[in-house]
Subunit: 533 residues, 2 copies
């Protein structure tokens, strides 16, 4: 659920730094980002096969989110007796989709009832799947969950800064074309003028100039200028058409100086990161569809409405104390030979668990990210009808940070739910300090700076602050270089009869792929222990 | 159907120049490209409303392709009596989709029978719709034709050059990341070293450097180097994962010198052109779905299997001579007050038509592009399963020029039809000089240089050479700056009682949007004449 590295205007970078407690500049921030491993692929290499005799051993899996479900599916397949304990009334965990009729109560007691129309939905958690997250994709394929493209970069979407261009939104394509063009012109001209002698050979310099012409839509004088070439990147003043009066009229590019000072270039890296390159996916109908399909595979093994309150192991097995959420205070016990615990560390760190000191320290070492998402149902798909924005993301430095348009139902005359805010860190705390209805009201207010239609078209909304969600208390585990070094391996190690899994036990935090690959690694190691015992 | 400007390795540029008969270099080529108007948006501003009394006038529309269908729909709505004459047994013209069981015969008599499985299809003509082609999109929306994203740029697809990197394909993301990184490093370092003094102020230079860090994934020393940052663009040596041993290992970037000399950078501009920016579309089930939905609106007005052999006008109307294709030689006549002729100029220029000299000259002035497309059915979707390539385009400098993977049915275990070749100009002539089965065989042979799986997985294919298609004799009209200047307005003018429409009468050649906007412009002018008469 974190995509901070993608969406960073300079301000967001500071948010990120603030969040991870690093006081440092750009380069250190990059180090921090890669330490977080937030932009990452997967080591998944295909369906696992746990070879060898499971000896009829039993396993308690705690949590029926993606990690718990993968563990349950694979352990069962290998011959284990599996029971899954799940706090909620359904599976999926943070792979959660809200639809009309859903209700949920956050920390503090505020309850939101979702009033979306039939067929409308909103993913407060994960919402997109990169092509290189092969584990979660493979489960989706094998479980016949239909996928459709998720659109990350939309060149026709908006880029907005309060202090950029007088507060008027620009199109992504305008920022992109003018930045590329300006940079290409500068480098091509300085190369041609011999200023780069010593940095590049004459021969390479010639090919470089030729390449920059193509990359930056430069004219014969190596200028990025007002003409049909540049307009074919940034958009025309008057589009070409058919019949008479069809000749296109070029638009006026912005100067590189203006693009640079707007800082809107910060959004251009978004689609270049491996996680946000094409082709990305979403399940048809909502992100919960994959987890729900997984849950169907092990449905009879899942006990819902079950709150874990303690985990004790001895040399022969693991005893988990739990309560039915309907009868709090009445503690019951489940026991098995082994335990795969996928509870978020934000929860696990508050339970009594007898693991070794290194794992206990690791469990306490990982703080959780605050984040907020707001879903807004609009009466009509004005972004498509009025502005030719089909799916994708508009960026802003307002507290809502972005607006995402639905990547399905293109051109339909019905309603649509946009992601009206997605913020981390301080913005998220600010947002969720507000009552839910006020979060929604503010999201509409801020969003109307990008889309004036907002105020007329808004119908109903919902705002989820992850640090107020009782069963996760945060969006994802936050790792730093230091905590990775000191605690990561201890967190992941099989601790006598307990092993942890989840996005927090991976280098792909906040992504379902982290949960999948972590669960596969955990059950593989557990199985090796069982087989070799 | 031309997307030559998108797909140009240097060789293709020369193809383009050869094709349009210009002997010139890079800059002139760009001029030529923009003169062609091949990369263009649309002037469509919403459904037209032809106000005023049509006086019960009658119109003959020649051709039931997109232009003819739009003309028929709008004229009828305005109160005209409309008859459409169509050569083929169905509507759509070049908006054509081939499915199992289809047969077609090309010039020279070779007949191909399409042997694709149920549910598989191939678009030999248009195959994608840009977001800014608002006319064709609006008709699709209004006629409830479901659309799904077309994927143009796929960062995980391949880039292949016979003489680049020892003939081993690279991933698009590797070329992109390493080109951006190399260019950013060069410009950032030369700016920092003061080499650009005079070209940029110190203050702007500082923001420029900061922006280049982000754009090019530069490290703290402004180097594009082997580290997690660059790998997060180009891909990792070992991907991050979950559990133990999950730490990612960075990959080694290519040098800027190697990227430049490979000329693979030429493909990077593809997704930056307005026509190929996100979000693009395709109709679910095949491109013909829009035209067929249009045809249903005016079904009773269309006379199929009708070959136009002559068009004569006088001051009171237009007489069109035609033959039933089943009974060639038996000339019949249709008459109406007006005629909207959408026949390709390649066909129209061979008919007897009494228009003014300027229009007659214009009709003769526009040559037609040769192009070829080959569709190949594969037993399994190995590009997804083996290589994580979901939709999008791989590029090569082999005569096939590209391979496109289907943008639907993601992850399905069934078969798939890839676009196995799409070539213009000399390559297209070479290809279609071959018998159809040989075209397919060659496409498989060449394609196996990108995908060794080709030879095992190929099942059946079909190859369409547009200059051999009897009812179009080419892919699209080719305009130059000179012919635009001398002939375009004469081609589009209402010539007494005849007006032309089609992609050839637009600044958006080879795109359905050219047909839509040209038809709307033509019927609007025709109607004004009728109303003001």
């Amino acid at each position: 659920m974190t995509d901070a590295p993608t969406d960073p205007p300079p301000q967001t970078r500071r948010d990120l730094l603030a969040r991870i407690g690093l006081a440092a500049g750009g380069a250190a921030m990059y180090q921090a980002m890669t330490a977080l491993g937030a932009s990452a692929e997967s080591t998944y290499t295909g369906p696992i096969r746990l070879e060898g005799d499971a000896r009829n051993a039993s396993v308690l899996v705690l949590g029926a989110g993606v990690a718990g479900l993968v563990a349950a599916i694979e352990l069962r397949k290998a011959g284990y007796r599996v029971q899954v304990l799940e706090y909620r009334e359904k599976a999926g965990g943070r792979a959660w989709t809200l639809r009309g009729g859903d209700r949920f109560t956050e920390l503090g007691g505020a309850t939101q009832e979702v009033r979306f129309d039939e067929g409308q939905y909103f993913n407060p958690g994960p919402w997109r799947i990169p092509y290189n997250h092969r584990g979660i994709l493979d489960y989706a394929h094998r479980l016949n969950v239909p996928l459709e493209p998720f659109i990350q970069v939309n060149h026709n979407a908006l880029v907005h800064g309060r202090n950029a261009f007088g507060g008027r939104p620009k199109r992504y394509r305008e920022i992109m074309a003018d930045y590329h063009g300006g940079v290409a012109e500068l480098l091509a001209k300085s190369t041609q003028q011999g200023k780069l002698d010593g940095l590049i050979t004459k021969e390479d310099g010639e090919i470089l100039i030729e390449s920059l012409r193509s990359f930056g839509a430069l004219d014969r004088n190596l200028a990025y200028a007002k003409n049909l070439q540049s307009s074919d990147r940034r958009g025309f003043e008057k589009d070409p058409g058919g019949g008479l009066s069809a000749r296109p009229v070029p638009s006026e590019p912005m100067s590189l100086k203006d693009v640079l000072s707007s800082r809107a270039w910060a959004y251009l890296a978004s689609g270049a990161l491996t996680e946000f390159q094409m082709t990305m996916f979403q399940p048809v109908g909502g992100m919960d569809q994959i987890a729900l399909a997984m849950a169907r595979e092990v449905q009879d093994a899942i006990r819902y409405n079950t709150k874990v309150v303690g985990i004790q192991q001895d040399d022969r097995g693991v005893t988990v104390a739990y309560e039915d959420t309907g009868t709090p205070g009445q503690v019951q016990q489940a026991r098995a030979d082994w335990c795969v615990c996928t509870l978020p560390l934000s929860i696990l760190s508050q339970l009594e668990v007898n693991v070794s000191a290194p794992m206990a320290n690791a469990i306490q070492a990982v703080p959780y990210a605050a984040s907020v998402k707001v879903g807004l149902q609009m009466k009509r798909r004005f972004w498509e009808q009025d502005e030719a924005i089909y799916a994708g993301i508009s960026y802003t430095d307002l507290p809502i940070r972005m607006i995402q348009y639905p990547a399905h139902g293109y051109g339909s005359r019905g309603k649509g739910v946009v992601l009206g805010a997605y913020a981390f860190g301080p913005y998220a705390y600010e947002f969720t300090a507000l009552a839910p209805e006020e979060r929604v009201r503010r999201a509409v207010e801020w969003g109307s700076q990008l889309h004036p239609q907002y105020k007329d078209e808004f119908e109903t909304g919902v705002g989820v602050g992850w640090h107020r969600v009782p069963w996760s208390l945060g969006c994802n585990g936050i790792w730093t270089e230091a905590t990775r070094r000191d605690h990561y391996d201890n967190l992941c190690a099989l601790d006598n009869r307990i092993i942890l899994a989840g996005e927090h036990a991976s280098y792909i935090p906040a992504w379902q792929e982290g949960s999948v690959t972590s669960a596969i690694d955990a059950v593989s190691r557990l199985h090796r222990r069982v087989v070799s015992a």
